[in-house]
Subunit: 148 residues, 2 copies
Amino acid sequence: MYEKEDKKYAPLSLKNQLCFPLYAASRRVIGQYRTLLDELGLTYTQYVTLMVLWEEGSVSVKELGHRLFLDSGTLTPVLKSLDTKGYIVRERCPDDERIVMATVTEKGMELREKALSVPGKIAGCICLEAEEAHELYRILYKILDGFE
Amino acid sequence: MYEKEDKKYAPLSLKNQLCFPLYAASRRVIGQYRTLLDELGLTYTQYVTLMVLWEEGSVSVKELGHRLFLDSGTLTPVLKSLDTKGYIVRERCPDDERIVMATVTEKGMELREKALSVPGKIAGCICLEAEEAHELYRILYKILDGFE
DNA sequence: CTAAATTTGATTGAGTACAATTTAATTATA
DNA sequence: TATAATTAAATTGTACTCAATCAAATTTAG
């Protein structure tokens, strides 16, 4: 009888969830970034936003949202903060005044140098074989692509 | 020259990050829960908290924090909310007044029935082969265990 | 052309997350 | 046994996340 109950409720057992370790691991890894990025005065969200801008130079809020899977309610304050710190500027597109372009400044590009050591340090915290890391990467993007 | 620059900064490219899809996929999956759990009047954090209590009946805040990788700053308001809704009660342990025990109520246990359909619906949103899901589960716990 | 629909970003509100601090209770030690 | 150290939760402050809503600009249809 108790065994039957156990079976009935097994899908609601924390240890049988796939999403819970996804949620927990994500938070733990972001926590690792927190310490490292604190030295740069950045949060993780600010860091990934700059990653896009370091590569692209100038990107609209909409495009940033698409790349980072974030909406304007999250991005607007993040961009304001980066702007205040002088790492980016925000200006409306002359062609279409609805669009706000975020553009990395010289000061923002300088921060890229300081950030170069971050990925290696993070990799050091995550104890996975190279093959496991690749498999994880592939599966995570498969999940993300499945939502499109 | 430009190629050299590209190589130099490749570790800071968003597409070369392992942590970014972890962070993004986690948020997307929690987003799927949001819709489902809304019908139960629960948030994801409340849901995983109840998962522990459904199985254990009664758990201290400290133990909950350990199981869920959350601290009291997060758990206290979550437990207050579950208490207000009548799904749990909170009472100090007579043996050690520092400890607060959260105990699921009858009403809380009834919610377990309604929640039974949730895991299946979530599984339907995540387009992975069974083998991939198992591998993901294993790797995520390997990451989590690596932090202990 | 002009009103309706759409697009873009900002704002607001509720709910996390987590570091740091505080308070109360307990345990260890001189 | 005092008191110092430790432990458990709660509180505070900062920041993120997203749903819902709003306002302005642009596009589309009639």
